[in-house]
């Protein structure tokens, strides 16, 4: 059988939802970060698949950009998580609630 575009889309959507689920449930900052990565990669799958489907390369090129930016994001994120740990002695994202309402 041939793998149609819709399969890719379904896959990416699944991946996206998994990432989203992780974000909503995981309290560990690193897990949070990983879930975001999942969502981004879901987008990448889409882009590449559609690039194939439409037969032009911009999608694939953009996917590369996204990866790069994802990396940068992670870098900044890890830095923030570092100072977070230094200030709160924890990487649980639900701990810091000094500011609310």
């Amino acid at each position: 059988m041939s793998v149609g575009i819709e399969h890719y889309v379904l896959l990416s959507m699944g991946l996206f939802c998994i990432g989203l689920f992780g974000i909503l449930t995981r309290r560990n900052a690193l897990m949070f970060l990983m879930s975001v990565e999942l969502m981004l990669n879901a987008a990448n799958i889409n882009l590449i698949a559609f690039a194939l489907y439409h037969g032009d390369l911009t999608g694939q090129v953009f996917a590369l950009f996204v990866m790069a930016l994802a990396a940068a994001e992670v870098a900044v994120g890890l830095g923030i998580i570092l100072v977070l740990y230094r200030n709160f002695r924890d990487v649980d994202v639900t701990v810091p609630t000094t500011m609310r309402w």
């Binding site: 989203l20 974000i23 909503l24 639900t94 609310r100």
Partner: protein
């Protein structure tokens, strides 16, 4: 004589100047500004006499001097001009003389009554007198209804200022407030009347073809057009407007039911009472009726009501007068009653009679009040008649002049009061023979004569006769010329003023000695349409006689004289004894009612403080709670909503993510359904 009229404005201007001077420089002047007032009123008097002479020589003066405002009548009957103007005809000339004379005498009297007694705040007093005189004089020669209303109101202001002269007491300010409020209530109707008449006829002139009287006549016989609201017939509309104006009259002239302010007004200095009762404020009302008599003559209904109110008030007030112990109170009720007579007279079409009594009353009432003032000085400001007695020998001048006034008031022949009162009753009687309502009014007026005679002489006997009933009465305080002179002048007038119009004599003998009637009928000169004759033509009254006219005259005169004498006699019987005692208990159950003045004050005070005030408080509470509560409620509501909205921000980032996604999905669902993506 023509030129003299150009000085007419000065008649009113003099007292105005005196007012300014007294107010500004009074405290630096000798006698605290009294002389400014005296000279001013003297000047007015002289000028007024000149006017009188000029009118007598056949000229009249009707001039618009100043344009106040002009514009279009809303009712769309052309333009209208609100102006200040002077109308000097027999009536106003006569009234000018009376007012300025009384004012002059009161000023002189004040020297003895106020200055000599070392009152404080005299500049204020003399300024008030000046303003009072100014307002009244301007009111008298006003040539249109609006101007009349304006000065009518100013008169009210002055009464407020002067009645409340002793403002450091509790009672005086209250009395002043009451006087202004009650008369204001009357003026409320008056003002509606003014506005209505202006809107109806597009003019407020008293005299001439442009007058609202002429316009009303024209409208009634269909030759002229006038606006009436909602298509009311012009006849009934004239009646309505006339009665509205009458509201002001009833207020100022202290007719039932708006008479309650007047007795309280005795809180003012006696001189002020004299001025108010004799010549200015109270007289203004009746004078206004006489001034626009032509208009009332067009409406029998209005006239009948005037007559009935007058007759009723005459009796009503007289009965209250008989039980008073304060000499000024007695005089106060006599004033109400006497003005009732004038209203009666005018109401029955006795224009001359009404004016005649207005004049006479001015003299003898001023006399009586000044006399009372003199008594009060003598008694060291004691006003209770039961503490007096036996002053006859100690103050002869006061006594005899006062007696003259009393005789005039009681209507004893040949004193002036008799002639005018008799004429009023005669006119009332002959009309009453045809009109039952008028007859009732006449009967009441007639009964009042008895009570008048009674309370008048009760007052005289209690004050002057018998034995002194207090140590102050033992050694009275002497009075100076400034008190005696005015008394003498007025005493003479009270005696002889009747000569002006000896109508009964004329009717019996056929002599032409009804000078006043001729005067008012324009024999010497008058403004077209403002004459007794013209009014009589308008009148719709039938008159009847009993037997012959002479008989009727004699009958009327005899009847009133009889009653007057019997009243006086009863008083003589009861009180002209060395040690008089009160006989009130004989009145039995009626007594409380009368002493309480038929509870007139009670219900009026209740209306003000028992009804209006609580209602106002309720309105205030409603305002604070409901209306303002709504406003504040909105703000508090939105703030609590805000503090609820804050709680969205729980501070836990996972919740944020959840809410974010939820919100996003909600948006997706809404738009998705609208866009039909899920199909």
């Amino acid at each position: 004589m023509e030129g003299v009229f150009s000085y007419a404005p000065a008649i009113a201007a003099f007292p105005l100047v005196a007012f300014v001077i007294a107010l500004a420089f009074g405290k630096y002047m000798p006698k605290k500004g009294a002389f400014a007032g005296i000279f001013a009123t003297l000047g007015s008097l002289v000028l007024s006499v000149l006017m009188l002479v000029a009118v007598a020589s056949g000229e009249v003066y009707h001039e618009t001097l100043y344009e106040w405002a002009i514009g279009e009548t809303p009712s769309g009957i052309g333009g209208i001009e609100f102006t200040f103007g002077i109308l000097i005809d027999p009536l106003s000339a006569l009234m000018l003389v009376i007012v300025s004379l009384i004012a002059f005498l009161v000023h002189v009297f004040s020297l003895g009554y106020m200055n000599a007694e070392g009152e404080t705040g005299l500049p204020r007093y003399y300024a008030g007198l000046g303003l009072f005189t100014f307002s009244m004089l301007a009111f008298v020669f006003a040539d249109n209804l609006l101007m009349a209303f304006m000065f009518f109101e100013l008169v009210g202001l002055c009464s407020f200022l002067l009645i409340g002269f002793w403002f450091r007491t509790r009672s005086a300010p209250s009395a002043a407030k009451k006087a202004f409020l009650v008369t204001r209530f009357g003026d409320y109707f008056f003002l509606i009347g003014v506005v209505a008449i202006a809107a109806t006829f597009g003019t407020l002139q008293f005299a001439g073809d442009g007058s609202f009287v002429a316009a009303a006549e024209a409208a009634m016989d269909g030759t002229g057009e006038a606006w009436t609201p909602a298509g009311i017939g012009i006849e009934s509309w004239v009646t309505v407007t006339g009665l509205l104006v009458l509201g002001g009259v009833i207020g100022k002239s202290a007719q039932f039911p708006l008479h309650t302010w007047l007795p309280d007004a005795m809180e003012g200095p006696t001189t002020v009472s004299a001025l108010i009762h004799a010549a200015t404020m109270v007289a203004a009302g009746v004078y206004l009726v006489a001034r626009m008599f032509g208009y009332y003559a067009l409406s029998p209904t209005a006239l009948a009501i005037i007559a009935f109110v007058g007759g009723f008030t005459a009796l009503f007030a007289a009965t209250m007068g008989v039980v008073k112990d304060d000499i000024k109170q007695v005089l106060a009720y006599s004033t109400i009653s006497q003005y009732g007579y004038m209203m009666l007279g005018l109401g029955v079409g006795g224009y001359v009679a009404g004016v005649f009594h207005l004049m006479n009353h001015a003299f003898f009432k001023a006399l009586l009040f000044l006399g009372a003032g003199s008594v009060i000085v003598i008694m060291h400001h004691e006003q209770d008649m039961w503490k007096m007695g036996g002053l006859k020998d100690k103050a002869p001048v006061t006594y005899y002049t006062f007696l003259a006034g009393a005789l005039a008031l009681a209507g004893i022949i040949p004193f002036s009061g008799f002639w005018s009162k008799d004429e009023i009753l005669f006119d009332a009687m002959i009309v009453g023979l045809e009109e039952p309502v008028i007859l009732a009014a006449y009967v009441m007026g007639l009964l009042a004569v008895f009570f008048t005679g009674f309370y008048t002489f009760r007052m005289v006997f209690l004050t002057f006769h018998g034995e002194p009933r207090s140590e102050t009465a033992e050694d009275p305080h002497p009075v100076g010329w400034s008190i005696k002179a005015p008394l003498i002048v007025l005493g003479v007038l009270a005696l002889v003023a009747g000569i002006a119009n000896l109508a009964p004599v004329a009717k019996l003998t056929g002599l032409d000695i009804t000078f006043l009637q001729g005067w008012l009928d324009g024999e010497y000169g008058a403004v077209e349409g403002l004459t007794y004759g013209a009014y009589s033509d308008l009148l719709a009254y039938e008159t009847g006689v009993i037997g012959s006219e002479q008989l009727t005259v004699l009958l009327a005169a005899g009847l009133s004289l009889l009653l007057a004498f019997s009243g006086a006699g009863l008083a003589w019987k009861l009180y002209n004894v060395p040690e008089p005692v009160a006989h009130k208990e004989r009145l039995g159950s009626v007594r409380e009612t009368i002493e309480a003045n038929y509870y007139q004050d009670e219900y009026q005070v209740w209306l003000a403080e028992g009804l209006t005030l609580p209602f106002a408080r309720a309105a205030d509470r409603f305002d604070q709670t409901v209306i303002d509560g709504l406003v504040d409620g909105v703000s508090t509501g939105s703030r609590s909503a805000g503090s609820r909205m804050r709680r969205l921000q729980t501070g836990i980032v996972t919740n944020y993510a959840a809410l974010l996604v939820a919100g996003f999905i909600a948006l997706l669902v809404v738009l998705g359904f609208l866009g039909g993506w899920f199909l």
